[in-house]
């Protein structure tokens, strides 16, 4: 039987190759699988498909990573700070008013010129329509006042010190008013039109999104003729595509494959920190043991975060005691790159708290949502056991976890990481404000609360940063969230290209160049 032959063959081949090679590491990667080519087509392999071209009605980073090539924001977040994109200039008129002037001569892919009306159309829609998924991040906009073809004011409900961060992220790309109003949303979603360096060509769902260069781009000329974003959900398949030269960039490489990819000619690995900080949310009130700050400290001290990063993530992470990591406004860098680990002290604290005979906690962790989440949770449970904390671990498939999370029905600890597309401490610490923490961590420290509330509306940037940094110190001591490590994203790349991954995980493809 042919296929059973093949089965036998494959098993045999594997066993033989494994027996003959020392560790089995290089057995699959003989030869030179990758062709070096100077093709001006860039192929990126994502783990999931893009969800929609309705930029206001999704919140997936991987979709936005594609959109940034087709659309433009008013201002753009770069490693060197905010720079103007569609906006020629901007200023604050008063605490609630931001005044903008658009660049001249910008056109949409269909030839329509960009005007202030397009900006009003775009921002009004997301600010007013509460059925849109991004509404929550834009409802702070009261209205957009058009002053001339290129000039407009944005008026906010409250003082918004981080307003420009808001306008340089998911949901703030400027849409073509005229095109959408005459053709309708249906048509726009089928063949979207933006101002960006690449134009939409096709979207085969669960397969690929194809963009082609826009010769009329107002900025620097696009570097690629065609850009293809493929969707390959299975990790091992994505790695295989990279190894055989099928794709130029593959996202979310499993840490275990790093060595194998690096030892193969023509392909390599690049890493970048991300906004995701893995943490244990802890209930700070109630009858449970975690209500005692000494127990929370003991948990922190019992977990060897560096060991998790080294062994499970193959170094693809950075330990931290804060969620506001470098690259975010308000980051407290003295808490970054450090972590506490002292199991003896942890045992003492547990004894002091009256649990000398040990204690039992419940912990929930998602399974398959974050890089090595399940394994990390299992390892933490083992580490906590060493100091006498028995953890009943409940691993939940993501949708179940998300539902339980929303219901706030977790017990003592939960393992989670939040995104932060604002690059500002306000969103990062939002969940620790008393109002949002209720039922979740129940965190309530009046000192922290007053700092957070004050900073949120403080239009003085320096003072605001200080307030946030101070708040982070308090949080690191109170431990409503026990911070563990910041996750890196791991990309496999074909060495024919230069690619420096970004903190925000966007693919600005013109930052990617041929060697």
């Amino acid at each position: 039987m042919k296929k059973s032959f093949m089965t036998v063959l494959i098993i045999l081949a594997l066993v033989l190759s494994a027996c003959s090679s020392k560790s089995g590491t290089s057995s699959e990667t003989k030869g030179e699988p990758v062709e070096n080519s100077d093709s001006k087509t860039l192929i990126v392999a994502n783990g999931t498909d893009m969800v929609t071209f309705d930029i206001h009605d999704h919140n997936t980073t991987s979709s936005e990573a594609i959109h940034v090539n087709m659309f433009n924001y008013l201002v753009r977040n770069t490693p060197d700070g905010l720079v103007s994109d569609l906006a020629e200039s901007f200023e604050t008129v008063d605490e609630l008013t931001w005044s903008f002037k658009l660049k001249e001569g910008v056109t949409f892919h269909n030839g329509d010129p960009l005007t202030a009306e397009d900006v009003k159309f775009t921002l009004d829609r997301v600010a007013k329509d509460d059925t849109l998924l991004e509404h929550g991040n834009y409802k702070q906009i009261k209205e957009v006042v058009v002053k001339s073809d290129l000039e407009f004011d944005i008026i906010t409900e409250n003082p918004e010190p981080a307003f420009l961060n808001r306008l340089s992220r998911l949901g703030s790309s400027i849409l073509p008013k005229n095109y959408i109003e005459t053709e309708g949303w249906e048509v726009f979603l089928e063949s979207p039109v933006g101002t960006g360096p690449y134009k939409f060509k096709e979207w085969k769902k669960d397969d690929r999104v194809v963009l082609v260069k826009n010769d009329n781009y107002f900025g620097d000329a696009p570097k690629w003729d065609e850009v293809i974003f493929r969707s390959i959900p299975e990790d091992s398949t994505r790695v295989s595509e990279l190894l055989t030269g099928g794709v130029d960039i593959a996202v979310n490489i499993p840490p275990t494959d790093i060595e194998r990819i690096e030892s193969t000619d023509g392909v390599g690995i690049v890493k970048s920190p991300t906004q995701r900080v893995m943490m244990l949310g802890a209930r700070t009130k109630g009858d449970g043991p975690t209500a005692d700050p000494r127990i929370r400290e003991a948990i922190d001290l019992a977990i060897d975060k560096q060991a998790i990063v080294d062994s499970l993530l193959d170094g693809a992470g950075t330990v931290t005691r804060t969620r506001v990591t470098p690259g975010n406004v308000g980051a407290n860098e003295s808490l970054y790159g450090v972590s506490l680990y002292d199991q003896d002290r942890a045992r003492e604290l547990i004894a002091e708290a009256g649990y000398a005979d040990g204690l039992t906690l419940k912990m929930q962790s998602p399974n398959g949502r974050y890089l090595k989440d399940k394994e990390s949770a299992e390892l933490m449970v083992a580490m906590l056991a060493e100091v006498g904390i028995t953890v009943e671990l409940e691993l939940l498939e993501w949708s179940t976890f998300a539902t339980r999370y929303a219901e706030k029905s977790f017990n003592d600890l939960f393992f989670i990481a939040y995104g932060n597309s604002m690059f500002d401490a306000s969103l990062a610490l939002d969940r620790l404000k008393k109002e949002n923490a209720a039922g979740e961590t129940d965190y309530d420290n009046p000192e922290t609360e007053s700092l957070l509330v004050a900073a949120e509306k403080n239009m003085n940037p320096e003072e605001r940063v200080q307030q946030y940094q101070q708040a982070q110190e308090l949080i690191a001591e109170d431990r409503p969230q026990i911070y563990l490590y910041q996750l890196d994203s791991i990309y496999g790349i074909n060495e024919r290209i230069n690619f420096t991954p970004r903190l925000d995980e966007m693919f600005y493809v013109d930052e990617i160049t041929l060697k």
């Binding site: 494994a18 560790s23 699959e28 275990t256 394994e375 671990l393 691993l395 498939e397 949708s399």
Partner: protein, 301 residues
């Protein structure tokens, strides 16, 4: 058919022993049947005596000794005969313990499926009419939805846990039993001796237990055996989709699915559980085929 009749006719004082002897003899002759029995026997043994047999706690992690190869390869130690996984857990111990859940889920699901299928099949076949209509349309509906899709939806909704897994596996597999039991019941019901029993006023319960069940039981056992094999494979597929057995429990399907990331770098993590599944399923199918030949002459080649 002749096997059964023959033995009813012979005046041997102890027909059962003779029949068993005959079967044992044929079992020896049937190489695959023998192989099946041996495999199933050993796997069962492994499952029952897991705590005695396993050298380590299957959940014991050890970061220092991660991804150690099996003992015959360079870097491997005889401490961990089949090597360790990504968390430094002993693969041999995990396979031994994994046999428990893989088998338990398989057998429990078959019991659930068999019970539902038997009862509904009997009702449909014996009482007919509206019962038959409702039950058979339900069977049609379930057959029209691919099992894996059905299970995927249910597990996603209810959350994957062992009891749910068993109930869902049972809840989708009963249709095969129901169909078989129904058609057997229909044919037996029309036989003269059943009709005359009915005519002299025998109770339904008696007719079912005395005349119908004995005719159904052999096909039933055959289907049940083969069903265990299907369920073990299904459990592995569900693990691939993230909805199978959840840690800290361990099953072969979960090990295989988790290990797929390491196929190219640490082949042993996935290969051994894969072999465990393949060999066990092979054994169960061989056993099932042999049982079919022996118990169910109608289904024989």
């Amino acid at each position: 058919m002749n096997v059964v009749i023959e033995e009813k006719v012979t005046s041997n004082p102890n027909p059962v022993t003779k029949r068993m002897k005959k079967q044992a003899f044929r079992l020896l002759k049937s190489k695959t049947g023998m192989l099946g029995i041996i495999i199933v026997f050993f796997v069962t043994l492994m499952a029952v005596f897991a705590p005695v047999l396993a050298p380590f706690d299957p959940a014991k992690t050890n970061v220092v000794s991660r991804l150690l190869p099996p003992f015959w390869m360079e870097g491997g130690t005889t401490e961990y005969l089949l090597g360790t996984d990504n968390l430094g857990r002993d693969i041999l111990s995990r396979i031994i313990y994994g046999s428990r859940i893989s088998l338990m889920v398989g057998i429990a699901a078959v019991i659930v499926a068999g019970a539902i299928g038997m009862i509904l099949g009997l009702i449909a076949g014996y009482y007919g009419k509206i019962f038959d209509f409702i039950i058979m349309r339900t069977v049609d509906s379930i057959l029209a939805i691919p099992t894996i899709l059905f299970m995927l939806i249910v597990l996603a909704v209810l959350g994957p846990s062992i009891p749910t897994l068993i109930l869902v596996l049972g809840g989708t597999s009963w249709v095969t039993y129901a169909r078989m039991v129904r058609s057997e019941t229909l044919s037996v019901k029309e036989r003269d001796y059943v009709r005359s029993a009915k005519a002299i006023g025998a109770k339904d319960f008696r007719i079912i237990t005395k005349y119908i069940l004995p005719n159904v039981i052999s096909s039933f056992i055959v289907i049940a055996t083969l069903n265990v094999a299907t369920i073990i494979i299904l459990e592995a597929s569900l693990s691939f989709l993230g909805l199978g057995i959840q840690p800290p429990d361990v099953s072969w399907g979960l090990m295989l699915s988790d290990g797929r990331q390491y196929i190219a770098t640490s082949w042993w993590v996935a290969t051994f559980p894969g072999l465990a599944i393949t060999i066990t399923v092979l054994g169960v199918i061989f056993l099932g085929d042999w049982l079919r030949d022996e118990l169910d002459p109608k289904m024989k080649d």
